[in-house]
């Protein structure tokens, strides 16, 4: 069942339409990531849920009931900001205990709850410290503990990882995922980092210019984006323009544009959306890691190797097929082999189920 439902929300700040007709439902216990470039309206959406902003129109339901009439302090949301906003004049313990003052608990229950959270977050022994005496990771844990202490109906995370260095970010995002899974608290996580969103979310909502582009599981989002924006924003991809020449229930035949005019077989599998008709212009999304550098797959293309990029774990091969540029990924162990192919023509291939047709951009 859905825990939180946003219905057709609009919010404008002066001349900026921050949120333009967003509807989505957050399911009980899931971790939903709200991702998009900066200024896309994701933080505004979060602030609408928390109650810091009022929508111009639309409805927000918690458990089926409208909460628009409620002040932030009545909504029972837990929030963690990018800068954590730990109260600098309170100790770690006082920070965590602050929200417990406003729920009907006995003193003993409060103490127990704080102790439980300190333990859960691995903060035991730090309870008397001032926030400024903590490391960034510890501060984040305190912020999480503080937000979770009053058992919120929903946890809102506003880019809590973006101020951290890359390594710490990866550690902490795993910790957030583990914690969220253990506690089962419904969470909305706002981030501009698509990798972070894919890594921890049960479902990901991509926003652009105040609108919701797509809401689906990370895999679906990655492999079957609904719009060109999503395809470009999530991961790396090669977009090959072409025209549908044949459309069947589970497959398409597309003729690629350009000199080669190659025919490509596209398996659409169990896709639910309507397939493009014959004659329609489409773009085919081909992920770099799905390209085979040989002619062993069903679809083949003739290319010229332009350059090679060594990235440690993997390497990237920059290819050109006529006017079309392509990126292919290969294990870094194969780098030296392919080094010799620069400037040469090769054949690459891919399976029909590894390409995905995108509707033409509007």
């Amino acid at each position: 069942m859905s825990c939180i439902e946003l219905q057709d929300l609009y919010k404008r700040f002066g001349s900026v339409q921050a949120v333009a007709g967003v509807s989505l439902a957050v399911r009980e216990g899931e971790l939903l990531a709200l991702v998009g470039p900066s200024g896309c309206g994701k933080t505004t959406l979060l602030r609408l849920i928390a109650g810091f902003e009022r929508p111009d129109s639309g409805e927000i339901l918690f458990g089926g009931r409208s909460i628009l009439g409620q002040e932030p302090q009545q909504r029972r949301v837990g929030i963690v900001f990018q800068d954590y906003a730990l109260f600098p004049h309170m100790s770690v313990r006082e920070n965590i205990a602050y929200g417990l003052k406003f729920v009907p608990l006995t003193r003993r229950e409060r103490v127990a709850r704080v102790a439980q959270l300190l333990h859960l977050m691995g903060l035991s022994g730090l309870e008397r410290r001032a926030p400024e005496e903590l490391s960034a990771g510890q501060q984040q844990r305190v912020a999480l503990a503080r937000a979770l202490a009053p058992r919120p109906r929903i946890l809102l995370l506003d880019e809590p990882l973006s101020a951290l260095d890359a390594q710490l970010r990866e550690t902490l995002r795993l910790e957030i995922k583990r914690l969220q899974g253990e506690l089962g608290v419904t969470t909305v996580h706002v981030t501009h980092d698509q990798e972070e969103a894919l890594a921890i979310a049960d479902r990901v909502a991509v926003m652009q210019a105040g609108r919701l582009e797509q809401l689906s599981s990370p895999q679906e989002l990655y492999h079957r984006p609904q719009t060109e924006f999503v395809a470009r924003f999530i991961g790396r991809g090669n977009l090959l323009p072409g025209t549908v020449v044949q459309s069947e229930p589970d497959q398409l035949i597309v003729r690629l544009e350009g000199a080669t005019r190659t025919l490509v077989q596209v398996s659409t599998g169990d896709a639910t959306s309507a397939l493009p008709p014959v004659g329609a212009a489409v773009r085919l999304l081909l992920r770099p890691e799905r390209i085979s550098l040989g002619d062993d797959r069903a679809n083949r293309l003739e290319c010229q190797v332009e350059s090679l990029e060594f990235l440690g774990e993997i390497s990237r091969l920059h290819l050109r097929c006529g006017a079309q540029e392509l990126i292919a990924q290969l294990p870094s162990g194969a780098t030296e082999h392919w080094q010799q192919h620069i400037g040469r023509r090769i054949t690459l291939s891919f399976d029909p189920q590894d390409v995905w047709p995108l509707p033409p951009s509007s």
């Binding site: 837990g78 600098p88 602050y98």
Partner: protein, 568 residues
């Protein structure tokens, strides 16, 4: 070789700069504050036979002086309370809401603080007096035969006038801090379930504490040292220590008695300063800053009963802050003629006539020029010396830092009557024979303003997260460049507050000025005083209006140009 040379030279220069930054202000204070002060304290603590505490103990054994002492503390505490009660909501309105003309109002909040006490007293009598506009309005409205509100000539009249003066200080200090306070703290607390008033009490207030403590401490000290207001609105039955000092020194030719009282007054004021420094240090924290804080429209923002509460508060504030000034303005355009009050330009024409110029021993234009140039010079000196001291006090930890802090804050606790007296006695003799020179007045004003600048700049410096300047250092900027390009722009509100207050202190100062001035060096407040003292009440009002106009204009200009200079 050149490379090596400069590499060795730079730290040397840097250290020289650092030493200068702290040595020069101290030299200035030593020469022009501590040296004269030593003479004053010596007079207070010595007799023919040498050192004695007799004059001090005599103060405590005199029941009248004990009464004066207690009244002064009581009056100052109540005034501080009133200033905070008024200044804090005003700071909130300025921080949380937008309204047309807000920038102007912000620039002008400080005007009351800069008004000479005699002008304020005049305005208060015209508005809150028994025959004032408020009482006459109520009498007409409710058909009363006698004035219903006895406000003046009592403790509450003094407290109200002190709130008029000092609430702007509180507002100014608190608003500067509030504007830069990240709203995330309050939002976090609200999300945790705290109702608005709890958020304010638990979160906002503690974070504003350094600024609030600064403002309140200044309000206390200013009320504690207040003198012409108490004289004018309280009368002899409500004397403060400062009034007694004035009486002894200026009229009763009892310099050593005045010096003893001034010493005691200084001790008490320093005690409070010390307590407040402790308090401020306790609350000093590195906070996240946000600029700008989101605001709502005052016209459409507040809703329900909240809205009416806000509007009522604004109306009451307008009555307190605007009405007295408006009343002086009206008064300057009216005179009694054949038992009628009639409109007239006589007073304005009068103050520009040569006979009136000889009356105040200067032309009004000359006194405007004097006031502005003294204030400008004092502002530059106090801002430079004060910021230098504040940077040192905030950044570095060294032995005796708290002692140094107390030393540089001490001028705050000195009565301007006593300071004027001490300076006068110092300046008539070598080695500092500055008597009758404009520099003497500028020095007195600068000394009074330096602690204010420090107070205004320090909270801003303290709230500055050290990682900001560390970041700049890391990017290769020298400490001087870091200060200039990172620190100063970030503490802009503090600097502006300091500048504005230094200017205000100078332009309003009368007690010390009147002792150090000579014909030709007359300032505007002294001119107002001269007119009043010679029964020229209309001319005094006209001169006051001129002063108010000059002050208002100066503040708007300072803020605008200051914002531009520091932004650019």
């Amino acid at each position: 070789m050149g490379q090596d040379g400069s590499r060795q030279l730079t730290p040397l220069l840097r250290r020289a700069g650092r030493v200068t930054l702290i040595a020069l202000p101290l030299l200035f204070l030593g020469l022009f504050f501590y040296y004269p002060l030593a003479g004053l304290v010596q007079s207070g603590l010595s007799s023919n036979t040498g050192f004695t505490l007799e004059r001090l103990t005599r103060i405590f054994s005199d029941s009248y002086l004990r009464h004066v002492l207690l009244f002064t503390v009581e009056e100052a505490l109540l005034s501080t309370l009133a200033s905070v009660a008024l200044g804090l909501p005003l700071a909130y309105l300025l921080t949380a809401y937008d309204f047309p003309g807000k920038r102007w109002i912000k620039s002008l909040t400080i005007v009351p603080f800069a008004l000479p006490a005699i002008t304020v007293a005049l305005g208060f009598i015209l508005v809150f007096g028994n025959n004032g506009a408020l009482n006459r309005g109520l009498m007409a409205l409710f058909h009363l035969s006698s004035p219903p509100l006895a406000i003046l000539y009592s403790l509450q009249g003094i407290v109200l006038a002190h709130a008029f003066y000092n609430a702007p200080i509180v507002t100014r200090f608190v608003a500067a801090a509030w504007e830069r306070l990240s709203p995330r703290y309050e939002e976090s607390a609200r999300a945790l379930g705290a109702p608005r008033w709890r958020v304010f009490l638990n979160i906002t207030l503690p974070m504003l504490m350094p600024a609030l403590a600064s403002g309140a401490a200044l309000a206390f000290i200013y009320s504690f040292l207040s003198f012409p207001i108490v004289l004018a609105l309280g009368g002899a039955r409500f004397s403060t220590i400062e009034v007694e000092i004035y009486r002894r020194a200026i009229i009763q030719i009892n310099y050593s008695g005045a010096a003893a009282l001034a010493t005691l007054e200084l001790l008490i004021a320093l005690l409070f300063t010390l307590g407040y420094l402790r308090l401020a240090a306790r609350y000093a924290r590195h906070l996240q800053l946000a600029t700008p804080r989101p605001t709502r429209s005052l016209l459409t923002g507040p809703a329900g009963p909240r809205r009416w509460l806000i509007y009522a508060f604004i109306a009451a504030s307008a009555l307190l802050f605007v009405a007295p000034i408006a009343a002086v303005l009206l008064d300057s355009f009216s005179r009694t003629w054949q038992d009628q009050t009639v409109f007239t330009l006589d007073w304005y024409l009068a103050i520009f006539r040569p006979t009136y110029s000889s009356l105040i021993a200067a032309s009004p234009l000359q006194s405007i020029w004097n006031s502005l140039s003294f204030a400008g010079a004092s502002m530059v000196i106090a801002l430079t010396l004060g910021t230098g001291l504040a940077l040192n006090l905030t950044r570095r930890r060294f032995v005796g830092r708290s002692l140094l802090e107390l030393l540089v804050m001490a001028p705050l606790g000195i009565s301007s009557v006593a300071l004027g007296l001490a300076l006068l006695r110092t300046f008539v003799r070598p080695p500092l024979a500055l008597s009758g020179h404009w520099i003497a007045i500028v020095i007195a004003h600068s000394i009074l303003a330096i602690p204010f600048v420090i107070r205004a700049v320090r909270p801003a410096l303290e709230r500055l997260a050290p990682r900001l300047s560390e970041a700049a250092h890391a990017l290769g900027a020298s400490p001087a460049r870091t200060t200039w390009e990172i620190v100063l722009p970030l503490i802009r509100p503090g600097l502006l507050t300091g500048a504005v207050f230094a200017f205000a202190i100078s332009i309003a100062e009368m007690s010390a000025t009147i002792m150090l001035t000579r014909p030709g060096l007359l300032t505007m407040p002294v001119a107002v005083y001269r007119f009043l003292a010679t029964r020229q009440f209309g001319a005094a009002s006209a001169m006051s209006v001129l002063l108010i106009a000059v002050i208002a204009l100066a503040f708007v200009l300072i803020e605008r140009s200051g914002e531009r200079a520091l932004r650019g």
